[in-house]
Amino acid sequence: MKMIFAISLLLNICSANAADMLLPDLSGVTDSGLTVEIYSELSPLSINQIHSWHVRILDRDGEMLQLEELNIFGGMPEHDHGLPTQPEVTTRLDNGDYLLEGVRFHMQGHWQLQIELQYAGVEDTAIIDFDLQ
């Protein structure tokens, strides 16, 4: 039983630190120079599976920021439509990342994400373009 507990604890630690050790699946910079890093629970990103993201916002010194608001929208400009879902930030995780639930892509091709955040009373935006295979 102790062994199972130890393995479980180890897995939890690994899971909690997974985002720290990995390269982000997507990243971008806001208008004011904040860094947005996205760590996907479905990696590499692929179509037709609903999943969650860990979103990390860093200041110019690489320090994690606590936001007043964070919303993410997306779509395919070539097809003039949005994401098939409306993902929402549901909680802030212990490591400072924001948990974004309900992400799904339904088409291969060029996607554009719009990350809208509010920090210290100021609204800020990052646009992230990427191709999904």
Binding site: I50, D80, G82, Q86, H106
Partner: protein, 420 residues
């Protein structure tokens, strides 16, 4: 050369060139790039993941529920005129479609019957996605006036009075309790008389009856989960070229060229993606409304209906926790969904004519022509862009689509009605 001969000669050359351009295929077998090979592999049944669990239906994979659902599926007594079963419109021999433009049950419905093949992989049901589980979907036709036209109280009477059905029901769901005073019919969604009978019932009785009704849907869904696609010539070809083995003549040159168009110039794979050739999502592709109908609002209405549905994943009749209802909780409601309808699977497409949500197109040639020159949408905007396919390319695309048909991956006993 006389001047008056030049015009006919030039005209003849132009005519020959035009015919050649439209009808002559480019000789040779397509070469596949790494990117194309990945796309082809993603379409193969080899890439189909295991059947996803349905946490909203605890009996989804119970053999006794499958047996019960199979019996319900083929039983015409589940209708007001004793002539309509689920199998009336979703015929096994037509890949669970009916060959008609619009569904015909007790009356004529407003939409074309979609195939049930591989539907257990979809998060949404109906052309507009107004249901979020296979069991919730299965309930609606039972009470719809143009389909089975029965109701939950009539069904409770039927099941409880039939010894075989009652035994099967209780084996899966436990004892069937009947209220002391049960009207002849009743449902909150029926005509005035049905609604009046329903309202006269105690609230606890209403919930018990709706739970019984729900269980019928869950058993039917357990059976429908068995309806899975079989391996086609395309799948064999995909496996062969991905493994770089001898592909032999699994597909002919026209079919291979059609596959190249499907994943390239034809842009079909944009929506008809994944091993079921559908993204299970909603798109406005400018298909005209079915005859004499107003254009459908599509997913724009469907998403709201699903959110208000008492039988949805978050409702009291679902077995799922809120955390397991991610599709419903994060469903998107936006103006660009006006007129957007569900992408159907293309597997077995050669057996499921006519096509589109109102059965507006009788053959694949019409479908390909529609996407080659997409018209303006009656509502909102058409996502599809002109393709500029030559005549020979349209034929090749059709040839490829016809390679997607194969017998289902299901035991024969499930494809025929049981002995009643």
């Amino acid at each position: 050369m006389k001047k008056d001969l030049l015009l006919p000669i030039f005209a003849s050359i132009a005519l020959i060139a035009a015919v050649g351009w439209n009808y002559l295929s480019i000789p040779g077998v397509p070469d596949w790039s790494e990117e194309e090979l990945k796309l082809i592999a993603s379409l193969s049944l080899d890439s189909l993941p295991p059947l996803p669990l349905d946490p909203s239906n605890l009996v989804a994979d119970e053999p006794a529920a499958v047996e019960f659902g199979h019996r319900l599926y083929f039983d015409t007594r589940l209708s007001s005129n004793a002539q309509v079963a689920c199998a009336t419109c979703h015929k096994p021999e037509l890949m669970f479609t009916d060959g008609l433009a619009l569904a015909v049950g007790v009356g004529i419905g407003p939409m074309h019957t979609p195939s049930l093949v591989g539907l257990a992989y979809s998060p949404w049901f109906y052309w507009d996605g107004r249901k979020d589980s296979q069991w919730a979907q299965a309930l609606a036709p039972l009470e719809a006036k143009h389909e089975h036209a029965t109701d939950r109280v009539q069904l409770l009477r039927l099941i409880s009075n039939d010894a075989v059905y009652r035994g099967m029901y209780e084996n899966v769901f436990g004892a069937l309790s009947l209220p002391a005073m049960l009207p002849q019919s009743g449902t909150p969604d029926g005509d005035a008389q049905q609604q009046a009978s329903w309202k006269a019932l105690e609230p606890e009785t209403q919930i018990d009856i709706s739970r019984f009704f729900t269980n019928l849907g869950k058993a039917i869904a357990a059976f429908e989960r068995k309806i899975l696609p079989g391996r086609t010539r395309f799948d064999d070809y995909a496996t062969a070229i991905v493994k770089n083995s001898d592909e032999e003549n699994t597909l002919n040159n026209s079919e291979k060229s059609g596959l190249k168009l499907f994943i390239g110039k034809g842009q079909c794979v944009t929506c008809h993606n994944g091993p079921l050739f559908t993204n299970h999502e909603f798109h406005n592709t400018g298909v005209l409304a079915a005859g004499r109908q107003m254009p459908s609002m599509g997913r724009y209405d469907g998403v709201r209906t699903s959110q208000e549905d008492p039988f949805n994943c978050l409702g009291e009749f679902s077995d799922a926790s809120a955390g397991e209802c991610t599709e419903l909780r994060f469903a998107r409601d936006a103006n660009d969904l006006v007129g957007a309808l569900k992408t159907p699977t293309l597997r077995n497409i050669s057996l499921t004519a006519p096509y589109m949500h109102g059965g507006q197109m009788s053959d694949l040639a019409q479908v390909v022509n529609h996407y080659n020159k997409p018209p303006s949408s009656m509502l909102s905007h058409n996502e599809a862009k002109p393709l500029g396919l030559r005549t020979v390319e349209k034929i090749q695309l059709e040839d490829f689509l016809k390679t997607l048909t194969a017998p289902l991956l299901i035991e024969q006993k499930w494809l025929v009605a049981p002995d009643y």
